[in-house]
Amino acid sequence: MKSQVKLRKYHAPVWSEPIIMEMGHRGERGILIPIAEDEIKTAVGDAESYVPEEMQRKELPKLPELSQPQVLRHYQHLAQETLGMEENIDISQGTCTMKYSPKVNEILARTPQIADIHPLQDEDTIQGALQIIYQLDLFLREISGMDQFTFQAGGGAHAAYINACVLRAYHDANGELGERNEVITTVFSHPCDAATPNTAGFKVITLMPDANGYPDIEALRAACSKHTAGLMMTNPEDTGIYNPRVEEYVKAVHDVGGLCFYDQANLNGIMGVARAREAGFDACHFNLHKTFSSPHGCMGPACGAYGVRNKLAKFLPTPLVGFDGEKYHLDYDRPDSLGKVCEFFGNVQVLLRTYAWIMSMGADGLLEAAHVSVINNNYLSKLLMAIPGVTKHYAEGKIRLDQVRFSWEKLEKDTGCGTLDVQKRMIDFGVQSYHTSHHPWIVPEPFTPEPCETYSKEDCDYWAAVLRQVSREAYTNPKIVKTAPHNAAIHAINRDILDDPKRWAMTWSAYLKKVDNNR
């Protein structure tokens, strides 16, 4: 079965697009805008007269001048030079749950009834939007066991930041903030679980894995004290291993008066199977652009839906959406709220897609998605473990859930081809570059696929066959792996430039000033 997969012949589109800043000709126009009518001009005169002289722009911005078809063509080409989830078997980006975003939900999200409404409209005129938000809150309460959600976070890290701010507000309200200045996380939790509490002013203690890959519980117990503000962790962690003693971790932190946050950016494998509430957590978050099907959009707009138990609800950002039995409303009257972390009340178009997706799945469908994601993962794992050079660390004999952190350590030792080499070679077969691991790399030469329920058995077979081919090449012709990519839109880039202040350039204007340094 495994050897029957025929790898496709693939080459990425190559358009060698110039930078838009060097395209076009003086005088070309991409769009005309509605200029003020003559009557208006006559009545008010020149626009200039309303801009104080010292604040007038003296020189036009050096933006490109292109006609509309040329602008469109340029960005269509750039789109083609991007490998979307819909264009490939995107098992590659583990921890990201590259699941299918149903097209019908996209059509719904683009209707003027969502796209062209203003958040400050009279509540009577946005009852539909408020209903979606309110209902989604109820759905997520049921899925998590939490008592109240906020959607103000535009991404998962943003939700983790809300949590850090809730920790601050909660301990402040108890008069203990001065004392409680430590947050504990685990090294296999997302970097945001360490970075956001640090930004909020906490000292961060990071637990390393024990011999079984679980966060070291003795280290946790040693870290817990009257200074503990809270714990921020995932489970299963990026390794895919469910930590069966999670309750004990939660208890250890609760015993010293800390709060426990469950980073559930990726809930996919345990949706409807296990909830934050039963494990004792005080708060959790879901990435609606991962588990809940809203598209990833080249890194957003997204949503980190953040939920808490009742005792923390009063601290959530303002406003929340309420319902009095007849009408939905925005509740701004929340004196204990931590305030705001973003304007308005969330990426409503993302919430709409999530609402529609949950409505299309129901309880059975969510559970089916979880089951199939775990089946897919264990099936793929079996295929990958048969590939020369692949190993996995920790928890021998334990069943992983939605993903596995594999290692090319052996391949690297045997052939000199490490995970970054494989990552560059695999795209020559038309699949997205895989996620290696968040930093630091605890598992050497890591890679982390996630075959969520979107992917068929044949997709899993194909993806495994790509890695099998790259492994074979590493053992027989490592040069082809080392010099990859060969079928991408560009060749190996010069990474030194990215860290060199004399040569890096974040804008075309900076590039023009430094272009000689790059020769």
Binding site: A36, I114, A488
Partner: protein
Amino acid sequence: MVKKESVIYPYIPNSVPEIKEEMLKEIGVKEAETLYREIPNNLRFKRKLNLPKPILAEWELKRHVMDILGKNKTCEENLNFLGGGCWQHYVPAVCDEIASRSEFLTAYAGEVYPDLGKYQAFFEFQSEIGELVGMDVVSLPTYSWGCAAGNAVRMASRMTARNEVLLPETISPERLAIIRTFCKSAVRKAHIDVRLISYDSKTGLLDLESLENEISCKTAAVYIENPSYLGFIESRSERISKIAHDNGAMSIVGVDPISLGVVAPPADYGADIVVGTAQTLGIHMNCGGGSVGFIASRDEEKYVAEYPSLLISISNTVQEGEYGFGICAYQRTSYASRDKAKDWVGTTTGLWTIVAAVYMALMGPCGFKEIGETIIQKAHYAIKLLSEIGGISLPFSSNSFKEFIVNFDGAGMSVTDVNKALLSHSIYGGKDISREFPELGNSALYCITEIHSRQDIENLVSALREILK
């Protein structure tokens, strides 16, 4: 065993029982349930989730959702004068087209080789914003203008090793609330104190005397906005930057780039860091979901080191003449350095970044000049006509860009009542700011953009005349 009533989910190929069986067999277990054996029984969720019965057929789902959305009344069906942090500008069809390209819509965090186009579009966004604001470094955007401002204040605080920021009292209360959140710390001594500088009650402009009195060797930065939340252009911006610099503080300026075809780029009047929205650049309002904010600065190592955001640098490849791209100074980010990073970064607003790049390319220099001019003329036409209505006054409006205050004190009607009445004319009146700025009385913040025709403005005026008579 095949259950007859099994649902085959169109989004789940392996929901076909036979396939599942086959895969389970390959794995070596009998049922999916076995795969969950690591989860202790007491942590298992025992019952079925209590969710509404699913709507399986796509048509029925669409109908169900459209019925709910039908309760929203859009700014296409009604005449909208709301702004205040989310603005209705025309979204060119090409922007919608590129926003719906499946590659951009569904890609995520892939490396530059498979996702070259994404990286290039990001670099182009940075380059175009750089031209508008006059800076050589621009970040990939964060969630919103307020978040960008909060990040910038924290950058300035680290760069100056000072813990205080001065802001105008006229700042958007929403952006202020976000900045306050970002400036708080669990440790008292690490707080950045947020202090408000009063404004001239006749013009709305920042009171320079108060600024001079308040600024000190503790001040990390002075933050102002152009145009301000209340719509006027801060005419003495250069003086404000100079006062900041004279006191060893940095000058941070927040902008709406749609104004920058006619209003001076902040770099020209002394800004050290520029932040702003990009929602006005081809992005639908989305009930607030169109928010996006950028940060920009000079190209100096000490600035780059302080950005929390991803910064895309252009590079080259082993092939002569080929452009490559990558993340500049990645080690600085929290992705690389976790709690050792100075701030945090995450998934933000990539798709809007690309759409804004398209918008700026379509508009070009002439488009920005014309849109700035037309907005100013239309806004001042509205100001002129409204000022002729008895009972209405328009404070601070002589230097307005697109927003301005309409005060109804003389008319003896609350903004709430005026707006309710306008609604019956299918008009969304300006944002009620009478609670945000009680000293400004019974006032609303109106917004006029290029989408408002002369007729639209006159319709507003006649509706108000009728309501206030």
